[in-house]
């Protein structure tokens, strides 16, 4: 169960704004967290507490394939992202690195809402608005990757992909 406060962002948040290209060339994960979202919201770092939740609109994470984008958000302590839908590479990357992401079409989460998320069943309870949303179902292979905590532990365990 994830409990946290929502910081709402809009549509088409691109990976250049999540983590600018000038900071991506590094293996120092903490340096990524230092610059996450800085071109979008200069106050991002001050606003966010560890465990807070980032709800957004359509097409979150569009643009570059840089995995540094979900890595930076995870390193910054964001507990979960909820978007109406994601850009496909970002979505795969987030699942692969073990950042909790839910696709919830038509959610109306507002800035400051208190949320409770049941990741296992994909249920988002909005404690401030008193409503409940169900996320879309992942393909089986993705659910297996999520269950292992990412693609690295999945492949360390299985050595190869398997689709029933």
């Amino acid at each position: 169960m994830i409990n946290g406060r929502a910081h709402r962002y809009g549509d088409n948040i691109d990976t250049d704004r999540i983590i600018p290209g000038k900071y991506t060339k590094t293996l120092d994960i903490s340096s990524l967290a230092d610059h996450v979202m800085e071109d979008l919201d200069p106050h991002f770092k001050q606003k966010f507490r560890i465990g807070d939740i980032l709800p957004a609109g359509d097409n979150f994470g569009c643009g570059s394939s840089r995995e540094q984008a979900p890595i930076a958000l995870k390193a910054a302590g964001i507990s979960c992202i909820i978007a109406r839908f994601y850009a496909r590479i970002f979505f795969r990357n987030a699942i692969n690195i073990g950042l909790p992401v839910l696709e919830v079409p038509n959610h109306e989460i507002q800035d400051g809402d208190a949320l409770e998320i049941d990741m296992e069943n994909g249920i988002v309870r909005n404690l401030s608005q008193g409503d409940l949303h169900q996320s879309t179902q992942l393909p089986k292979v993705m659910m297996d990757i999520v269950a292992e905590g990412g693609l690295v532990p999945y492949l360390r365990k299985y050595g190869d992909y398997h689709i029933d």
Binding site: Q68, R88, R92
Partner: protein, 410 residues
């Protein structure tokens, strides 16, 4: 079903060995894969963490140092060293600084062929759809899995058909057509889907122009983009994969190329596309001809034809990064590069250059850039206080000549 297949469905069917239709989940053997200095270090790290010791097939894996090359600082220099060591240990190809932009290098060196499934750790990997390959951008960990297993899992995409009627006017190019298509589909309009280009307007296009078309499907959110191989000319024999006449498409977009005037993508999104006439006269200080979208020999020649015997406007700098060493050699051999440099252009290393904001020409605050690249998101070129317009090589050259956004057809 008994219905016909799209090009993507045919390529995936050939690779999985069983009928693969839009929506099917499949594990696909990968013919080739690639990572750059932005994505390879994380991929190499993930490969090791997965338990990887040897690459599944070193002959199918390529490393390219292009995003910040030569290294602008010690941090990036050390990442480049890590890539060189890995290539040396594993026996895979390492395309070092100056080789060019990963996508151009893969095509120049024939590391990707028509009908291939190719995974690149760079979002513009769909560029190879110009050859008729099924090519997708992936992140570093997905790529590490390809390095380890030689495979990727995918959901076979539904396909959007873009039918381009007529023939492009003289001063409009594949870039203008691609920008018009991005506008029609929007920045998320092809998410999870493939795009297929068809029609008389694309049949006459060169490989280079087709690469521009496929390159910009990334800006529609597409999984891949393929130009129907009708009319495609390659310097080697190849087997073309055509869509069936009765292939099932998710939707069809039609564009009349004959009336397409030069386009411009206005800050801060590549789908914010308009007729350049509406922005004619907007002052610029920085013009860039480069990137995997538009820095090939024909692009540079178009710019040289506009600038021959003239000089760029006072107060404007024109930066040129040829797409690859081969492009640079060709542009030197026929005098194109000399023409551009005499006109006041600054030549930088073959590679991504300032497109991704890491080095070699970051714009200053309040500067207005006109660029042949693919993205104009805020901060893309390294400064969130600059604004970026995207256009064709002709538009960028004409704008550099005058010092303001200029319709090259005038």
């Amino acid at each position: 079903m008994g219905k016909g297949m799209t090009i993507s469905e045919k390529i995936l069917t050939a690779h999985t060995g069983r009928e693969t239709r839009a929506g099917d989940l499949c594990i696909v053997p990968v013919d080739g894969s690639m990572a750059t200095d932005t994505t390879a270090p994380l991929a190499i790290k993930a490969f090791g963490e997965m338990g990887g010791v040897r690459l599944k097939d070193p002959s199918r894996f390529h490393l390219v140092i292009d995003h910040a090359a030569p290294a602008p600082n010690e941090r990036i220099a050390n990442l480049h060293s890590l890539m060189r060591r890995f290539a040396n240990d594993q026996g895979c190809a390492l395309h070092d600084i100056g080789s060019g932009i990963c996508h151009q290098v893969m095509v120049d060196h024939r590391k990707v062929q028509p009908g291939d499934v190719f995974m690149g750790a760079d979002s513009h990997t769909p560029t190879y759809g110009a050859l008729g390959a099924f090519a997708c951008g992936v992140g570093s960990t997905d790529l590490a899995a390809v390095m380890l297993t030689g495979k990727i899992w995918l959901k076979a995409p539904a396909t959007i058909r873009i039918l381009c009627h007529g023939k492009l006017p003289t001063h409009s190019s594949g870039k203008d057509l691609a920008l018009e298509a991005v506008k029609a589909l929007t920045i998320s309009g092809a998410t999870y889907q493939a795009v297929e280009y068809h029609g008389t307007a694309v049949e006459g296009l060169s490989l280079s122009q087709r690469m521009t078309l496929c390159n910009l499907v990334a800006e529609m959110g597409a999984k891949t983009g393929i130009v129907s191989p009708k009319g495609l000319e390659l310097p080697y024999p190849f087997e073309a994969t055509y869509a069936d006449q009765d292939a099932v498409y998710a939707r069809t977009i039609e564009i009349d190329a004959s009336s397409l005037r030069p386009r411009i993508a206005v800050p801060d999104s590549p789908d914010n596309v308009d007729d350049i006439e509406r922005y004619q006269g907007t002052r610029i200080t920085y013009a860039f001809i480069g990137s995997c979208t538009n820095a090939r020999h024909d692009d540079l020649r178009v710019a040289a034809d506009i600038l021959r015997g003239k000089h760029i406007a006072k107060g404007v700098r024109l930066v040129i990064a040829p797409a690859s060493r081969q492009v640079l050699i060709d542009a030197l051999a026929d005098g194109t590069m000399q023409t551009l440099i005499e006109a006041g252009a600054t030549l930088i290393n073959s590679g991504c250059g300032p497109c991704v904001g890491s080095h070699e020409g970051v714009p200053g605050d309040e500067e207005v850039v006109v660029s042949t690249a693919n993205r104009n998101f805020k901060g893309r070129m390294g400064n969130p206080n600059a604004s970026i317009y995207l256009g064709s090589p002709a538009t960028v050259a004409a704008s550099a000549l005058h010092g303001y956004l200029t319709n090259p057809a005038l």
